[in-house]
């Protein structure tokens, strides 16, 4: 039996602007990361772009300054909240379109893989908001616990509890003694 350690990540929500990075490049990088987060939460690229656009509009309206230390965390929090409040008008994008065919040996395995991921995505949607967000930021966005805590405005230990409870709830929702949902 082998247990692989999961890499921790240096994905940080902020600060956005640094002296060594041009302002335009920094904002573009932030935009890209926010779109990626929104896609992970609502699974629709166009809606994700709109959501991030709305977050930037809100930042402008509220006079937020990208040079502020908390600007990045504020943007991640705003996009997260918009995504959690998102009312789906269309079906989420099909995961089958995005599976790399080289990842699976046979079409049957690919279909099974897609089915498992679709079930997991649906189970994520059923989680309480805090657990869903904590799991998304920690396990999909690879943020450190302190960074997730700054986005969610919680303590790191509270975030860990949400991640733990979220994983447990997902295992229950996916069901089956094996809980075979990934690879």
């Amino acid at each position: 039996m082998t247990y692989a350690l999961k890499p921790t990540s240096d994905a940080k929500p902020g600060p956005v602007l640094r002296s060594d990075v041009p302002e335009k490049a920094a904002l573009e990088d932030l935009h890209r990361r926010l779109v990626r987060l929104a896609v992970r939460m609502i699974w629709d690229r166009d809606e994700a772009e709109d959501t991030v656009q709305e977050a930037f509009r809100l930042a402008l309206t509220k006079g937020m300054n990208p040079r502020e230390v908390h600007f990045g965390a504020w943007m991640f929090r705003t996009v997260s909240n918009l995504c959690l409040n998102f009312r789906r008008r269309t079906k989420p994008e099909s995961l089958a379109d995005w599976i790399d065919p080289l990842d699976d040996a046979t079409p049957e395995m690919a279909a099974q893989h897609v089915e498992q991921l679709v079930r997991l995505r649906e189970a994520m949607d059923q989680l309480p908001r805090q657990q869903r967000l904590a799991l998304t930021l920690r396990t999909m966005e690879h943020m450190s616990y302190p960074d997730v805590a700054s986005v969610m405005q919680l303590s790191a230990s509270a975030v860990r509890a949400h991640v733990h409870l979220g994983r447990r709830r997902l295992a229950e929702l996916i069901g089956g003694p094996d809980g075979d949902v990934g690879r």
Partner: protein, 185 residues
């Protein structure tokens, strides 16, 4: 097994890569011996792996060059738009047809209005989606060649009235019909 509760509290830390090496060894030794904890750990590990796989798919979706990578998606979008136009068009045509049929029904059953009925032989010349009806009990509802046709129904409580725009009667003046008193539109 003794210590299961404490071990289970560390499983997520292991998955997050936050366990100290010594603690890892202790947990791993426990997992070798305890099937229940091992099963729980494997389930949580599967969930973590699945979430990572989902995250990678989201990365592909969010990549700026995705449209160029997947030209088929553009056609899917065109197809969705075409389907929406088709649905809206169908609903619009259906609504228009329904209004016509309602109007025909009200004309046919207008109190005191002329109610000409009779058997007529007609040749239907409309689009093929409309059922062909060579013989039916008909009501003339307006001038020209528009007619409301009562179609035979097996259920006496159901009345089927179909408005034909393109019926060409093969009998000019069927028996029992006063063509000159057709209700006007």
């Amino acid at each position: 097994m003794n210590g299961c509760h404490a071990i289970q509290g560390h499983l997520d830390d292991w998955l997050d890569g936050l366990l100290e090496p010594a603690e890892q060894e202790r947990v791993a030794a426990h997992l070798q011996d305890c099937a229940a904890c091992r099963r729980l750990f494997e389930r949580h590990q599967a969930i973590s792996d699945g979430l990572q796989a989902l995250g990678q798919l989201a990365d592909r979706m969010a990549a700026p060059a995705r449209e160029a990578d997947r030209p088929a998606r553009r056609w899917q979008r065109v197809g969705r738009v075409a389907a929406a136009v088709l649905i809206v068009g169908t609903i619009g045509a259906g609504a228009a047809w329904y209004r016509l049929a309602q109007r025909a029904d009200s004309l046919v059953h207008a109190p005191g209005g002329p109610r000409q009925t009779g058997t007529i032989e007609g040749e239907y010349v409309g689009p093929p989606t409309i059922p062909k009806q060579r013989e039916a009990l008909i009501h003339l509802v307006k001038g020209d060649d528009r007619m409301a046709v009562r179609l035979p129904s097996k259920n006496p409580r159901v009345q089927i009235i179909w408005l034909y725009d393109q019926v060409r009667p093969t009998v000019e003046n069927p028996e029992g019909m006063d063509v000159s008193t057709r209700p006007s539109s």
